[in-house]
Protein backbone atom coordinates (compact mmCIF):
# COMPACT_ATOMS: atom_id res chain seq x y z
CA UNK A 1 0.00 0.00 0.00
CA UNK A 2 2.87 2.37 0.59
CA UNK A 3 3.24 2.51 -3.20
CA UNK A 4 -0.14 4.18 -3.37
CA UNK A 5 0.96 6.76 -0.81
CA UNK A 6 4.18 7.25 -2.70
CA UNK A 7 2.62 7.77 -6.09
CA UNK A 8 -0.74 9.36 -5.62
CA UNK A 9 0.69 12.87 -5.73
CA UNK A 10 2.37 12.38 -9.10
CA UNK A 11 -0.73 10.69 -10.42
CA UNK A 12 -2.79 13.67 -9.29
CA UNK A 13 -0.36 15.98 -11.07
CA UNK A 14 -0.81 13.85 -14.21
CA UNK A 15 -4.57 14.01 -13.77
CA UNK A 16 -4.47 17.78 -13.47
CA UNK A 17 -2.57 17.99 -16.74
CA UNK A 18 -5.11 15.69 -18.42
CA UNK A 19 -8.00 17.81 -17.23
CA UNK A 20 -6.30 21.04 -18.22
CA UNK A 21 -5.65 19.81 -21.74
CA UNK A 22 -9.18 18.42 -22.02
CA UNK A 23 -10.70 21.70 -20.90
CA UNK A 24 -8.71 23.81 -23.37
CA UNK A 25 -9.36 21.40 -26.23
CA UNK A 26 -13.07 21.02 -25.55
CA UNK A 27 -13.57 24.78 -25.24
CA UNK A 28 -11.91 25.47 -28.57
CA UNK A 29 -13.49 22.56 -30.42
CA UNK A 30 -16.97 23.50 -29.20
CA UNK A 31 -16.62 27.04 -30.56
CA UNK A 32 -15.22 25.89 -33.89
CA UNK A 33 -17.70 23.01 -33.94
CA UNK A 34 -20.72 25.32 -33.70
CA UNK A 35 -19.43 27.48 -36.53
CA UNK A 36 -18.62 24.47 -38.69
CA UNK A 37 -22.03 22.94 -38.02
CA UNK A 38 -23.74 26.15 -39.11
CA UNK A 39 -21.45 26.22 -42.13
CA UNK A 40 -22.38 22.67 -42.99
CA UNK A 41 -26.11 23.34 -42.68
CA UNK A 42 -26.32 26.75 -44.34
CA UNK A 43 -22.97 27.38 -46.06
CA UNK A 44 -23.57 25.80 -49.43
CA UNK A 45 -22.62 22.52 -51.01
CA UNK A 46 -18.86 22.95 -51.27
CA UNK A 47 -18.39 23.95 -47.65
CA UNK A 48 -20.69 21.14 -46.54
CA UNK A 49 -18.68 18.61 -48.55
CA UNK A 50 -15.38 19.81 -47.09
CA UNK A 51 -16.70 19.64 -43.54
CA UNK A 52 -18.22 16.20 -44.16
CA UNK A 53 -14.90 14.96 -45.53
CA UNK A 54 -13.08 16.30 -42.49
CA UNK A 55 -15.52 14.62 -40.10
CA UNK A 56 -15.19 11.31 -41.97
CA UNK A 57 -11.39 11.38 -41.77
CA UNK A 58 -11.49 12.13 -38.03
CA UNK A 59 -14.03 9.36 -37.48
CA UNK A 60 -12.39 6.89 -39.83
CA UNK A 61 -8.83 6.91 -38.50
CA UNK A 62 -7.75 5.42 -35.18
CA UNK A 63 -7.11 8.20 -32.63
CA UNK A 64 -3.59 6.96 -31.99
CA UNK A 65 -2.77 7.14 -35.68
CA UNK A 66 -4.01 10.72 -35.87
CA UNK A 67 -1.81 11.64 -32.92
CA UNK A 68 1.22 9.92 -34.44
CA UNK A 69 0.69 11.66 -37.77
CA UNK A 70 0.74 15.02 -36.00
CA UNK A 71 3.68 14.29 -33.72
CA UNK A 72 5.91 11.94 -35.75
CA UNK A 73 4.50 12.49 -39.23
CA UNK A 74 4.97 16.23 -39.30
CA UNK A 75 8.57 15.86 -38.11
CA UNK A 76 9.28 14.41 -41.53
CA UNK A 77 8.74 17.95 -42.82
CA UNK A 78 10.84 19.49 -40.06
CA UNK A 79 7.75 20.56 -38.16
CA UNK A 80 8.74 19.50 -34.67
CA UNK A 81 5.97 20.08 -32.14
CA UNK A 82 6.48 19.60 -28.43
CA UNK A 83 4.55 16.65 -26.94
CA UNK A 84 2.19 19.08 -25.23
CA UNK A 85 1.57 21.10 -28.41
CA UNK A 86 1.08 18.01 -30.55
CA UNK A 87 -1.24 16.44 -27.97
CA UNK A 88 -3.32 19.57 -27.60
CA UNK A 89 -3.50 20.13 -31.36
CA UNK A 90 -4.72 16.59 -31.85
CA UNK A 91 -7.33 16.83 -29.09
CA UNK A 92 -8.63 20.02 -30.72
CA UNK A 93 -8.72 18.65 -34.28
CA UNK A 94 -10.32 15.42 -33.09
CA UNK A 95 -12.78 17.32 -30.93
CA UNK A 96 -13.89 19.54 -33.80
CA UNK A 97 -14.71 16.45 -35.86
CA UNK A 98 -17.03 15.18 -33.13
CA UNK A 99 -18.45 18.53 -32.08
CA UNK A 100 -19.55 19.37 -35.64
CA UNK A 101 -21.78 16.32 -35.80
CA UNK A 102 -23.24 16.87 -32.34
CA UNK A 103 -24.14 20.47 -33.16
CA UNK A 104 -25.36 19.71 -36.65
CA UNK A 105 -27.75 17.08 -35.32
CA UNK A 106 -28.88 19.33 -32.47
CA UNK A 107 -29.48 22.37 -34.65
CA UNK A 108 -31.21 20.33 -37.35
CA UNK A 109 -33.53 18.74 -34.79
CA UNK A 110 -34.69 22.11 -33.46
CA UNK A 111 -34.65 23.95 -36.78
CA UNK A 112 -37.23 21.66 -38.34
CA UNK A 113 -40.25 23.34 -36.79
CA UNK A 114 -38.77 26.29 -34.94
CA UNK A 115 -36.87 27.60 -37.96
CA UNK A 116 -40.11 28.05 -39.85
CA UNK A 117 -41.64 29.80 -36.88
CA UNK A 118 -38.65 32.16 -36.71
CA UNK A 119 -38.87 32.81 -40.45
CA UNK A 120 -42.56 33.53 -40.12
CA UNK A 121 -41.75 36.20 -37.55
CA UNK A 122 -39.52 37.86 -40.12
CA UNK A 123 -36.26 37.10 -38.32
CA UNK A 124 -33.07 36.81 -40.33
CA UNK A 125 -31.39 33.42 -40.34
CA UNK A 126 -28.69 34.64 -37.95
CA UNK A 127 -31.30 36.03 -35.58
CA UNK A 128 -33.28 32.81 -35.75
CA UNK A 129 -30.20 30.75 -34.97
CA UNK A 130 -29.01 32.95 -32.14
CA UNK A 131 -32.31 33.74 -30.48
CA UNK A 132 -34.47 30.72 -31.19
CA UNK A 133 -32.61 27.64 -32.34
CA UNK A 134 -29.31 27.55 -30.45
CA UNK A 135 -30.83 28.20 -27.00
CA UNK A 136 -33.04 25.13 -27.49
CA UNK A 137 -30.38 23.04 -29.21
CA UNK A 138 -28.05 23.33 -26.20
CA UNK A 139 -30.59 21.52 -24.07
CA UNK A 140 -31.06 18.69 -26.55
CA UNK A 141 -27.32 18.29 -27.01
CA UNK A 142 -26.36 18.31 -23.35
CA UNK A 143 -26.20 14.50 -23.03
CA UNK A 144 -24.07 14.17 -26.20
CA UNK A 145 -21.80 16.95 -25.01
CA UNK A 146 -21.22 15.18 -21.70
CA UNK A 147 -20.40 11.96 -23.54
CA UNK A 148 -18.02 13.99 -25.69
CA UNK A 149 -16.31 15.42 -22.61
CA UNK A 150 -15.79 11.95 -21.13
CA UNK A 151 -14.52 10.70 -24.48
CA UNK A 152 -11.91 13.44 -24.56
CA UNK A 153 -10.76 12.69 -21.01
CA UNK A 154 -10.28 9.09 -22.08
CA UNK A 155 -8.42 10.20 -25.19
CA UNK A 156 -5.80 11.93 -23.07
CA UNK A 157 -4.49 8.46 -22.13
CA UNK A 158 -2.97 8.27 -25.60
CA UNK A 159 -0.91 11.41 -25.09
CA UNK A 160 1.66 9.63 -22.95
CA UNK A 161 2.69 7.69 -26.07
CA UNK A 162 4.22 10.91 -27.43
CA UNK A 163 5.64 11.86 -24.04
CA UNK A 164 3.02 14.05 -22.34
CA UNK A 165 3.39 13.60 -18.58
CA UNK A 166 -0.21 12.58 -17.89
CA UNK A 167 -1.66 9.90 -15.61
CA UNK A 168 -0.63 7.06 -17.91
CA UNK A 169 2.88 8.40 -18.19
CA UNK A 170 3.20 8.47 -14.41
CA UNK A 171 1.75 4.98 -14.13
CA UNK A 172 4.24 3.77 -16.69
CA UNK A 173 7.17 5.41 -14.89
CA UNK A 174 5.91 4.09 -11.59
CA UNK A 175 5.73 0.58 -13.01
CA UNK A 176 9.33 0.71 -14.21
CA UNK A 177 10.46 1.97 -10.81
CA UNK A 178 8.43 -0.34 -8.58
CA UNK A 179 7.60 -3.32 -10.79
CA UNK A 180 4.06 -3.14 -9.45
CA UNK A 181 1.90 -2.85 -12.58
CA UNK A 182 -1.21 -4.08 -10.78
CA UNK A 183 -1.04 -1.18 -8.34
CA UNK A 184 0.12 1.46 -10.81
CA UNK A 185 -2.42 0.77 -13.55
CA UNK A 186 -5.02 0.10 -10.89
CA UNK A 187 -4.42 3.62 -9.61
CA UNK A 188 -4.66 5.00 -13.12
CA UNK A 189 -7.94 3.14 -13.64
CA UNK A 190 -9.35 4.49 -10.39
CA UNK A 191 -8.23 8.01 -11.30
CA UNK A 192 -10.07 7.87 -14.64
CA UNK A 193 -13.05 6.22 -13.01
CA UNK A 194 -13.34 9.01 -10.48
CA UNK A 195 -12.93 11.74 -13.09
CA UNK A 196 -15.36 10.24 -15.59
CA UNK A 197 -18.04 9.13 -13.16
CA UNK A 198 -17.89 12.57 -11.54
CA UNK A 199 -18.31 14.19 -14.94
CA UNK A 200 -21.25 11.92 -15.80
CA UNK A 201 -22.93 12.65 -12.47
CA UNK A 202 -22.38 16.38 -12.87
CA UNK A 203 -23.80 16.10 -16.37
CA UNK A 204 -26.84 14.30 -15.02
CA UNK A 205 -27.40 16.99 -12.39
CA UNK A 206 -26.96 19.69 -15.03
CA UNK A 207 -29.46 18.03 -17.35
CA UNK A 208 -32.05 17.79 -14.60
CA UNK A 209 -31.47 21.43 -13.66
CA UNK A 210 -31.96 22.53 -17.24
CA UNK A 211 -35.00 20.30 -17.67
CA UNK A 212 -36.52 21.64 -14.48
CA UNK A 213 -35.93 25.27 -15.44
CA UNK A 214 -37.78 24.90 -18.70
Amino acid sequence: MHYVALYWAVMARGGALDLEMTAIAVAISVVVGVLAAIGKLYGGKLLAAIITGYVEVIRGLPPILQLFIIYFGLSQFQINLSPFAAGLLWLILYGIGYAVEIFRAGIAAVAEGQGEAADALGMTRAQGLRRVILPQAWVIMLPSLMTFLVLQVKNTTLLYLVGVADIMYQARLGTSATEQPAIMYGMAAVAYLVINLTLSRLGGVLERRVEASR
Binding site: V57, G73, Q76, L161, P181
Partner: protein
Protein backbone atom coordinates in the same frame (compact mmCIF):
# COMPACT_ATOMS: atom_id res chain seq x y z
CA UNK B 1 7.07 7.34 -51.48
CA UNK B 2 5.28 4.78 -53.63
CA UNK B 3 8.45 2.72 -53.75
CA UNK B 4 8.66 2.74 -49.97
CA UNK B 5 5.02 1.78 -49.75
CA UNK B 6 5.57 -1.09 -52.10
CA UNK B 7 8.50 -2.30 -50.07
CA UNK B 8 6.56 -2.35 -46.84
CA UNK B 9 3.24 -3.51 -48.21
CA UNK B 10 3.74 -7.20 -47.26
CA UNK B 11 4.42 -6.20 -43.64
CA UNK B 12 1.34 -4.03 -43.63
CA UNK B 13 -0.78 -6.84 -45.00
CA UNK B 14 0.49 -9.13 -42.26
CA UNK B 15 -0.43 -6.40 -39.79
CA UNK B 16 -3.91 -6.07 -41.27
CA UNK B 17 -4.47 -9.80 -40.77
CA UNK B 18 -3.49 -9.51 -37.10
CA UNK B 19 -5.71 -6.45 -36.65
CA UNK B 20 -8.65 -8.33 -38.12
CA UNK B 21 -7.95 -11.35 -35.92
CA UNK B 22 -7.96 -9.17 -32.84
CA UNK B 23 -11.17 -7.51 -34.06
CA UNK B 24 -12.91 -10.82 -34.71
CA UNK B 25 -11.95 -12.42 -31.42
CA UNK B 26 -12.78 -9.29 -29.42
CA UNK B 27 -16.12 -8.97 -31.23
CA UNK B 28 -17.11 -12.54 -30.37
CA UNK B 29 -16.12 -12.01 -26.73
CA UNK B 30 -17.91 -8.65 -26.58
CA UNK B 31 -21.15 -9.98 -28.08
CA UNK B 32 -21.18 -13.06 -25.84
CA UNK B 33 -20.36 -11.12 -22.68
CA UNK B 34 -22.71 -8.33 -23.75
CA UNK B 35 -25.57 -10.81 -24.15
CA UNK B 36 -24.84 -12.19 -20.66
CA UNK B 37 -24.78 -8.67 -19.25
CA UNK B 38 -28.08 -7.69 -20.84
CA UNK B 39 -29.66 -10.91 -19.62
CA UNK B 40 -28.49 -10.18 -16.08
CA UNK B 41 -29.44 -6.52 -16.38
CA UNK B 42 -33.00 -7.19 -17.48
CA UNK B 43 -33.46 -10.33 -15.36
CA UNK B 44 -35.26 -10.90 -12.09
CA UNK B 45 -32.29 -11.43 -9.77
CA UNK B 46 -31.50 -8.19 -8.04
CA UNK B 47 -27.85 -8.96 -7.26
CA UNK B 48 -27.13 -9.84 -10.88
CA UNK B 49 -28.87 -6.69 -12.04
CA UNK B 50 -26.70 -4.53 -9.80
CA UNK B 51 -23.57 -6.38 -10.81
CA UNK B 52 -24.35 -5.85 -14.49
CA UNK B 53 -25.06 -2.15 -13.97
CA UNK B 54 -21.83 -1.79 -11.99
CA UNK B 55 -19.82 -3.57 -14.66
CA UNK B 56 -21.24 -1.41 -17.43
CA UNK B 57 -20.68 1.87 -15.54
CA UNK B 58 -17.13 1.01 -14.56
CA UNK B 59 -15.93 -0.36 -17.87
CA UNK B 60 -17.40 2.53 -19.80
CA UNK B 61 -15.54 5.00 -17.61
CA UNK B 62 -12.06 3.47 -17.92
CA UNK B 63 -10.03 4.30 -21.04
CA UNK B 64 -9.35 1.30 -23.29
CA UNK B 65 -5.59 1.82 -23.13
CA UNK B 66 -5.69 1.47 -19.34
CA UNK B 67 -7.65 -1.77 -19.76
CA UNK B 68 -5.12 -3.04 -22.29
CA UNK B 69 -2.26 -2.38 -19.87
CA UNK B 70 -4.16 -3.92 -16.98
CA UNK B 71 -4.94 -7.05 -18.99
CA UNK B 72 -1.32 -7.39 -20.01
CA UNK B 73 0.79 -6.12 -17.11
CA UNK B 74 -1.48 -6.11 -14.07
CA UNK B 75 -3.04 -9.51 -14.68
CA UNK B 76 0.47 -10.79 -15.39
CA UNK B 77 1.63 -9.61 -12.00
CA UNK B 78 -1.13 -11.50 -10.22
CA UNK B 79 -0.28 -14.67 -12.10
CA UNK B 80 -2.60 -14.56 -15.12
CA UNK B 81 -0.05 -14.29 -17.90
CA UNK B 82 -1.79 -13.67 -21.19
CA UNK B 83 0.10 -13.32 -24.46
CA UNK B 84 -0.22 -9.82 -25.90
CA UNK B 85 -2.76 -10.90 -28.48
CA UNK B 86 -5.13 -12.36 -25.90
CA UNK B 87 -4.57 -9.57 -23.42
CA UNK B 88 -5.68 -7.18 -26.15
CA UNK B 89 -8.69 -9.33 -26.99
CA UNK B 90 -9.73 -9.55 -23.34
CA UNK B 91 -9.38 -5.80 -22.78
CA UNK B 92 -11.24 -4.82 -25.94
CA UNK B 93 -13.84 -7.54 -25.46
CA UNK B 94 -14.50 -6.51 -21.86
CA UNK B 95 -14.86 -2.86 -22.82
CA UNK B 96 -17.05 -3.38 -25.87
CA UNK B 97 -19.23 -5.86 -23.98
CA UNK B 98 -20.36 -2.94 -21.82
CA UNK B 99 -21.21 -0.87 -24.90
CA UNK B 100 -22.86 -3.74 -26.76
CA UNK B 101 -25.00 -4.72 -23.79
CA UNK B 102 -26.40 -1.18 -23.69
CA UNK B 103 -27.12 -1.27 -27.42
CA UNK B 104 -28.79 -4.66 -27.02
CA UNK B 105 -30.88 -3.35 -24.16
CA UNK B 106 -32.16 -0.39 -26.12
CA UNK B 107 -32.81 -2.75 -29.04
CA UNK B 108 -34.97 -4.92 -26.79
CA UNK B 109 -36.73 -1.89 -25.34
CA UNK B 110 -37.57 -0.64 -28.81
CA UNK B 111 -39.90 -3.60 -29.33
CA UNK B 112 -43.47 -2.58 -28.56
CA UNK B 113 -45.17 -4.07 -25.48
CA UNK B 114 -48.05 -5.21 -27.64
CA UNK B 115 -45.73 -7.62 -29.46
CA UNK B 116 -45.13 -9.50 -26.25
CA UNK B 117 -48.85 -9.58 -25.47
CA UNK B 118 -49.70 -10.83 -28.96
CA UNK B 119 -47.15 -13.63 -28.73
CA UNK B 120 -48.32 -14.62 -25.26
CA UNK B 121 -51.95 -14.58 -26.35
CA UNK B 122 -51.03 -17.13 -29.02
CA UNK B 123 -49.72 -19.43 -26.28
CA UNK B 124 -46.11 -19.23 -27.37
CA UNK B 125 -43.46 -20.20 -24.85
CA UNK B 126 -41.10 -17.49 -23.64
CA UNK B 127 -38.32 -19.06 -25.68
CA UNK B 128 -40.36 -19.10 -28.88
CA UNK B 129 -41.52 -15.56 -28.24
CA UNK B 130 -37.94 -14.33 -27.86
CA UNK B 131 -36.69 -16.27 -30.87
CA UNK B 132 -39.47 -15.62 -33.34
CA UNK B 133 -40.96 -12.29 -32.28
CA UNK B 134 -38.80 -10.16 -29.98
CA UNK B 135 -35.23 -10.86 -31.12
CA UNK B 136 -35.79 -10.41 -34.87
CA UNK B 137 -37.18 -6.94 -34.18
CA UNK B 138 -34.62 -6.09 -31.51
CA UNK B 139 -31.83 -7.12 -33.87
CA UNK B 140 -32.99 -4.63 -36.45
CA UNK B 141 -32.86 -1.84 -33.90
CA UNK B 142 -29.49 -3.08 -32.62
CA UNK B 143 -27.78 -3.09 -36.02
CA UNK B 144 -27.10 0.63 -36.55
CA UNK B 145 -25.48 1.29 -33.16
CA UNK B 146 -23.85 -2.16 -33.30
CA UNK B 147 -22.28 -1.33 -36.65
CA UNK B 148 -21.03 1.96 -35.35
CA UNK B 149 -19.47 0.15 -32.39
CA UNK B 150 -17.77 -2.36 -34.69
CA UNK B 151 -16.11 0.36 -36.65
CA UNK B 152 -14.88 1.88 -33.37
CA UNK B 153 -13.61 -1.53 -32.30
CA UNK B 154 -11.46 -1.86 -35.41
CA UNK B 155 -9.94 1.52 -34.72
CA UNK B 156 -9.31 0.66 -31.09
CA UNK B 157 -7.43 -2.52 -31.99
CA UNK B 158 -4.63 -0.11 -32.91
CA UNK B 159 -3.95 0.16 -29.17
CA UNK B 160 -2.65 -3.40 -28.90
CA UNK B 161 0.59 -2.40 -30.60
CA UNK B 162 1.54 -0.80 -27.26
CA UNK B 163 1.86 -4.29 -25.75
CA UNK B 164 3.84 -5.62 -28.69
CA UNK B 165 1.13 -7.24 -30.82
CA UNK B 166 2.23 -7.06 -34.45
CA UNK B 167 -0.90 -5.41 -35.82
CA UNK B 168 -1.22 -2.79 -38.55
CA UNK B 169 -0.29 0.08 -36.22
CA UNK B 170 2.75 -1.88 -35.00
CA UNK B 171 3.97 -2.41 -38.56
CA UNK B 172 3.47 1.26 -39.38
CA UNK B 173 5.42 2.22 -36.30
CA UNK B 174 8.27 -0.18 -37.12
CA UNK B 175 8.41 0.97 -40.72
CA UNK B 176 8.46 4.63 -39.78
CA UNK B 177 11.34 4.05 -37.37
CA UNK B 178 13.26 2.11 -39.99
CA UNK B 179 12.74 4.54 -42.86
CA UNK B 180 12.63 7.89 -41.01
CA UNK B 181 9.58 8.61 -43.17
CA UNK B 182 6.86 8.50 -40.50
CA UNK B 183 4.33 10.54 -42.47
CA UNK B 184 4.48 8.19 -45.44
CA UNK B 185 4.10 5.13 -43.29
CA UNK B 186 1.34 6.40 -41.03
CA UNK B 187 -0.59 7.69 -44.03
CA UNK B 188 -0.35 4.26 -45.61
CA UNK B 189 -1.69 2.70 -42.41
CA UNK B 190 -4.39 5.35 -42.39
CA UNK B 191 -5.50 4.31 -45.87
CA UNK B 192 -6.04 0.77 -44.63
CA UNK B 193 -7.97 1.85 -41.56
CA UNK B 194 -10.03 4.29 -43.56
CA UNK B 195 -10.85 1.61 -46.11
CA UNK B 196 -12.25 -0.59 -43.35
CA UNK B 197 -14.22 2.30 -41.94
CA UNK B 198 -15.79 3.11 -45.29
CA UNK B 199 -16.36 -0.54 -46.12
CA UNK B 200 -18.20 -1.33 -42.91
CA UNK B 201 -20.29 1.78 -42.76
CA UNK B 202 -21.31 1.66 -46.42
CA UNK B 203 -21.98 -2.07 -46.77
CA UNK B 204 -23.95 -2.36 -43.58
CA UNK B 205 -25.81 0.88 -44.23
CA UNK B 206 -26.97 -0.54 -47.54
CA UNK B 207 -27.87 -3.86 -45.99
CA UNK B 208 -29.91 -2.21 -43.26
CA UNK B 209 -31.70 -0.15 -45.86
CA UNK B 210 -32.57 -3.33 -47.77
CA UNK B 211 -33.97 -4.96 -44.68
CA UNK B 212 -36.04 -1.88 -43.88
CA UNK B 213 -37.32 -1.71 -47.41
CA UNK B 214 -38.31 -5.35 -47.55
CA UNK B 215 -40.42 -4.92 -44.46
CA UNK B 216 -42.21 -1.77 -45.42
Amino acid sequence: MLQLWQQYLPDFFAGVVVSLEVTGAALVLALALGALLVTARTGRVRVLRSLAVGYIEIFRAIPVLVLVFMAYYSLGQVGIRLPGFWAGVVALGAFYAALYSEDMRSGLQSVDRGQREAAQALGMTNGAMMRRVILPQALLAFLPPGTNELSNLIKDTSLVFTIGVADLMFQANQASAATFQPMDMFVLAGLFYFAFYILISRILARWELNVQRRRS
